[in-house]
Subunit: 441 residues, 2 copies
């Protein structure tokens, strides 16, 4: 494919520059005057709203209810669980003032949920309790990039309590699988799926499960995590409920996926002409461009997010614009096509053009969108499987070897994907785990 | 009606205590460890989500697109428009640190939108531009009460730009009317509708339009406002676009409605048995309680938010619980009723019971919910019209008289509802405006 939009840096020349060109020029993000924050204009917001609504449905099916909990918390609350405060403290934004117990902006909400549980939960009969919130989070990051690492980001955070360890562990794994399925089925993104090492897990967690996707440049993006937190938070916050026999501490599971995935979509699927959106999350799935003002008002595509561009911009300008915005399908119809009953359909992902009868569009378009989804997934999966950027190698389990591996190669442990009896790739001693190593965002 | 739930203070004995009893015990809000902030549990969140989705549809019909803009802004940005910073400065939360231009948490987002407009808008062809966001806002309030006045609250904030003053003024009034219709049609709340005086208008606005509702205790609740801001913000932020002839400053309109309306619903409709929800915004519209475990699995109410309570709690407990939660309709069916094909339907709002044939429920229930909506609106309207808590009286237009009126009577100007040639109720000189005066939350 020729590079039609001159203003985008080629992704093979400067991937970082290509990324910011695409997110800004396609309308996913705009730079702001706020350090490390972005404006998310209508196009980016529409994408996130679709993502949100689809994932919210999945959570509701699993019995989750949404809540709205505070943005702020007193410092003393975050300090109650020691590993947790240690993990987050450098990144926390504090409200100025004289207060000895100042308010902080949530860097995550475990402390708030635990405070709520402590005050409101009484009996094991209320378990399992499955809560979720869609919220904004602030972490004072040093090096920021749109969506990938921003001072403020948006996410879904699930918080669930169970009477037993077994139920809680089952839930953490179920959500891990849900994330894997969701990014595959909605975003056409394949992942490596596994467990974080001790040093990489969430601050306060017993076990952290993760899905890791691979960007076009071979770097990993931690895409969603699910944590089994044991009952440590419950003990720290005094969340005790009446059990069948005496009082019990519930077992805690939390999990989240963020606006960072918008960056993932860009870096997995985009190309030198701009964004390429997977059809199921595209705010506009199909754009119809009438050539020489032919009348296309009879063409309806119910159940498709469909836009007809009758503006007086030139067809060439429109083609480049919708390519940049990554609209999965473009339909052109000129006077002769109309006479012949034909539509010229262009697939953004492959550049391929097909002639489809106008009368067949309502049936053909949904099938074609599914075909595009599958093809995009297959291409990304092929790249992931054949890439040398993710290395599978045994590890002995020592933090020293893990750190050394990263120091020497730049590749940290992304996740443990199984057991191993091979030799540790660092020290040569007996391996315990098969680990995926890679550079990461 | 007898007072069934002993734990609620009577609203005629202590209205403030009644209010907090109801919001907490019904599950709309829970107290938090965060000064001036509340937890909004599943029930309160479900109510807000319905409100949000209905209003979002209205805005989309008017051409508004959603955006997600930052929570934080540098102080220098808020300071660009002078009236604006003066109005908000005491309430603004600042992030601690050494920065000479510290970050603030948005107390409203005009400054951020103007910064976005300045960087991204080029031509009058992009006008009208209609943006909206659903966001959390922080204002450091001294006296806080759940929903009515909280440190953090949630709202919808619309920000629209127009090429001419006329278009902008038309939009501000159109939105004002939309709010009036919306709270009537969704929340069954009648309002007094008018314009704010100079001293009461939004910081930086030319004109502020307001809807004011009246709570059960006769106090006013400012329920939604819409502002025509002229081009002052545009000049302060340098938002200049290419017009048909030379550069122009667009005209700015902003407007908002907040989670405070949840408090409004409680205080307009609630009674001594708890919450009474208007049917169109009730998360559960109808609850069915089978008596003596009769099989009601055949009863379906499609298109209704419908819950069957098969739990082993006693019918008495269930009745009190759903009354407390304000579910508009309760259906009971016992063994004899089932045999006779009857359902006993209780209307939460009036306490009235009706016998309806089980087979007729799918047609009867939606009609009954509409009837309840109308009756609730009529009762609230009757109270508003016959109350002596809102006083209509002429005002000369001087700020001194306005202030004196509030000092002497406790009743501030709520809004200007028309012109007046009567004598000013304070100084006795010639009146200019007919004003509604009242105590307010």
């Amino acid at each position: 494919m020729e590079k039609k939009v001159k203003a985008i840096t080629s992704r093979d020349v400067d991937f970082a520059k290509w990324y910011t060109d695409v997110v800004v020029k396609s309308g996913l993000a705009a730079y702001s005057n706020v350090r490390g924050c972005i404006y998310i204009p209508p196009y980016g917001t529409a994408l996130w709203d679709l993502f949100k609504s689809e994932f919210d449905n999945k959570l509701k099916t699993l019995g989750y209810s949404n809540v709205m909990f505070p943005l702020l918390m007193p410092k003393s609350l975050l300090q109650k669980e020691k590993d947790h405060i240690t993990g987050f403290s450098p990144e926390v934004a504090t409200i100025a003032g004289e207060d000895p117990d100042p308010l902080l902006i949530r860097p995550t909400s475990e402390a708030l949920f635990c405070d709520y549980f402590a005050k409101n939960l009484q009996s094991y009969k209320e378990l399992p309790l499955r809560l979720n919130q869609w919220a904004n989070i602030v972490r004072l990051e040093k090096n920021t990039r749109p969506f990938l690492r921003t001072t403020e980001f948006f996410w879904q955070e699930g918080h669930a309590l169970f009477a037993t360890e077994e139920e809680a562990r089952t839930e953490a794994r179920k959500i891990h699988k849900l994330y894997e399925d969701f990014v595959r089925d909605l975003l056409a993104i394949p992942v490596v799926s596994g467990q974080k090492t001790e040093s990489e897990k969430f601050a306060g967690a017993v076990d952290t499960y993760t899905i890791e996707s691979m960007m076009y440049d071979g770097q990993a993006l931690q895409s969603a995590t699910s944590h089994y937190l044991g009952d440590g938070f419950m003990r720290a916050f005094g969340v005790k409920v009446q059990g069948k026999e005496g009082e019990i501490y519930p077992h805690y599971v939390t999990f989240g996926i963020t606006t960072r995935m918008i960056g993932g979509i860009v870096m997995v699927h985009g190309d030198d002409n701009g964004l390429v959106l997977p059809p199921r999350v595209a705010p506009t799935q199909v754009v119809l461009i009438p050539i020489k003002a032919v009348d296309v008002s009879g063409i309806k595509l119910p159940s498709i997010r469909f836009h007809v561009d009758n503006s007086d911009n030139s067809p060439g300008w429109k083609f480049a614009e919708y390519e940049m915005k990554g609209i999965p399908l473009r339909i052109e119809i000129g006077p002769r096509d109309l006479e012949a009953g034909d539509a010229i359909v262009s697939i953004r992902y492959s550049g391929e053009k097909r002639k489809i009868k106008i009368d067949d569009l309502p049936a053909a378009v949904p099938a074609l969108l599914d075909e595009i989804h599958e093809a995009m997934y297959a291409a990304a999966k092929n790249r992931l499987d054949s890439s040398k950027s993710f290395i599978y190698a045994p590890w002995c389990g020592s933090e020293e070897c893990e750190t050394n591996h990263k120091k020497k190669t730049g590749m940290g442990s992304r996740c443990i994907v199984g057991e191993s009896k091979g030799k540790c790739v660092v020290c040569g001693k007996a391996g315990k785990h098969e680990v995926v190593w890679g550079r990461a965002y």
